[in-house]
């Protein structure tokens, strides 16, 4: 009796403790967000979005940064999606039991934990120097693609694994070969999970700064890149550049930039959640 009473108390206590932690976490985030928004929201207008950076804070804009970020996003997606899905399919559907696949799998998990600056150094050596891409968008995108590939591969594998084997059996049983089974049945059934993984990893990529600093993103760009071999800057670079200046007006610019970057990230995450819910409703086992 007394014991169960005690347990109930403990249970309640822990419940409140958990609630407290959650509120604290949200509170810190809310204060931070509130601060940024108060500071920056007034600065966001059409001019801010369509102007190049400038020595004068009031005239400076974020055009080259957000266009650069979109370029970077597109190129990174273009490079990492086919390779990531392809590798995920290979591991999960073809090489399931081979020793090599096991070895690669363990290393893949480790790769996902490597600090991003290391990827930057790798990118500098391979893409910028050896392959002669220079400090171009392409070199940066290749580096970011490398950075998020392990995440895409792992999430693709998880999505493929969630497709019940009975579906594969049914397909094989009707005379389909492995590729047809994957293309017509397994991929469509797992697309929700795969897309979610891709979008989440891309939203991580657009926040990355360190690898791009190393591979040569510029801090001050007064032009819009017109092709993958052009030089560029990205939002986090621009924000960092502004924040590190002493003038108060630049701090406001930085806050406004952060709001826009956050909006892009939230948008991507929103799409991911939407896709997941949609596919979950459609495919139920």
């Amino acid at each position: 009796m007394i014991n169960s009473e005690k347990n109930r108390l403990k249970d309640k206590a822990f419940q409140y403790f958990g609630l407290g932690c959650t509120i604290l976490g949200l509170l810190v985030l809310a204060v931070f967000l509130g601060d940024i928004i108060m500071k920056g929201i007034g600065r966001i207008d059409w001019d801010f979005l369509t102007s190049f950076p400038s020595m004068r804070a009031k005239k400076a804009g974020i055009l080259s940064a957000w266009v650069g970020t979109l370029w970077m996003l597109g190129l990174t997606a273009f490079i990492s999606i086919p390779i990531g899905i392809g590798a995920g399919i290979y591991f999960e559907e073809y090489a399931k039991k081979s020793r090599l696949a096991n070895l690669l799998e363990i290393n893949l998990a480790n790769l996902a934990g490597v600090p991003s600056i290391i990827y930057g150094l790798l990118g500098l050596e391979i893409f910028v120097r050896s392959m002669g891409m220079g400090t171009s968008l392409l070199a940066g995108a290749c580096t970011l693609a490398l950075l998020i590939l392990p995440i895409i591969i792992v999430s693709t594998r998880e999505a493929l694994r969630a497709v019940p084997n009975s579906i594969r059996q049914a397909s094989y049983g009707m005379g389909a070969n492995t590729w047809q089974t994957i293309w017509h049945q397994v991929l469509p059934a797992s697309m929700g999970g795969i897309l979610t993984g891709i979008i989440l990893s891309l939203s991580r990529a657009i926040g990355e700064t360190a690898p791009l600093i190393v591979t040569g993103a510029l801090a001050y760009v007064a032009f819009v890149p017109s092709g993958p071999m052009d030089q560029y800057t990205v939002m986090p670079m621009q924000i960092f550049n502004w924040i590190s200046r002493p003038q108060q007006d630049f701090q406001v610019n930085a806050a406004a930039g952060i709001i826009i970057l956050l909006c892009i990230t939230f948008l991507l995450n929103g799409i991911a959640v939407f896709l997941r819910n949609r596919w979950q409703k459609k495919v139920k086992w």
Binding site: A170, A176, K282
Partner: protein
């Protein structure tokens, strides 16, 4: 049971042993099945019926540790030979699984899948085949107005008939059915049994069942398995009225499980 001439043999297993890893699950099985008959496989759970059934379309190839000795002959050809393309084999030897496993797609796409993967694009042909197959499997009346509906929204019995339609769309000459009615209500079950009777004219059917009455109703011949042995194989009438072996007698009368 009549001796079959080589010409009459549709399916044949010769000295077949099957192993999963170390475990031997089929022991020296010999059987010859005549074209356009229904053959029932019966026996207690785990005796190897499904395993045996799946050797005829090589679905065991995907099971880890699977190994076989002996031969499986279909239409006079050893199907485990290197030159055989399993994809072609499975177009000829259709299968309905124990648990309904429709694709998470529309009813229409489910039935059209077999044609699609063969590269058939003729819309009219596909539509005709879908309709014909759904009629054959007695599902057409229930779904004809809503072929775009997801197959997963069908009831279990409807799903199983859809799986049968899907297999029929390929016009196989052999149909393997692994307890196709185990998850169905009596009405769906009797529909499927009627269907099997009709299909016999064109197909050779092998069906695994735990339902003795069902085996008695629909099959011409019955094979009784026990712990990997083919104990007795004979005309269904004979098996159910006057079996040779005591074990068969006991199983059929329900005296052991």
């Amino acid at each position: 049971m009549e001796k079959l001439s080589i010409k009459d043999k549709k399916l044949e297993a010769i000295n077949l042993n099957v192993y999963y890893g170390e475990k031997k699950v089929l022991k020296d099985v010999n059987i010859a099945i005549k074209a356009n008959t229904v053959t029932a496989f019966i026996g207690p759970s785990g005796c190897g019926k499904s395993t045996f059934l799946r050797t005829f379309n090589r679905m065991n190839d995907y099971v880890e540790g699977f190994r076989k000795e002996g031969d499986i002959i279909i239409d006079g050809k050893d199907i485990y030979q290197k030159m055989v393309r399993v994809e072609d084999l499975r177009k000829k030897v259709g299968m309905v699984f124990q648990k309904p496993n429709p694709f998470p797609k529309s009813i229409f796409e489910n039935v059209a899948y077999g044609l699609k993967i063969q590269g058939i694009n003729n819309k009219q042909l596909i539509e005709d085949t879908v309709e014909k197959s759904l009629k054959q499997s007695a599902l057409w009346e229930e779904v004809k107005d809503d072929l775009k509906k997801s197959a997963l929204s069908l009831s279990g019995g409807q799903q199983q008939r859809l799986c049968i339609a899907r297999a029929l769309a390929l016009e196989p000459s052999i149909l393997l059915m692994d307890e196709p009615a185990s998850a169905l209500d009596p009405i769906s079950t009797s529909k499927i049994e009627d269907l099997i009777w009709e299909l016999k004219e064109k197909y050779t059917i092998v069906i695994v069942t735990h339902n003795m009455q069902q085996a008695g109703r629909i099959s011409d011949n019955t094979a009784f398995f026990y712990m990997g042995d083919l104990v007795e194989y004979d005309e269904t009438k004979k098996i159910f009225t006057n079996p040779e072996k005591e074990r068969t007698q006991n199983y059929i009368t329900g005296r052991f499980g």
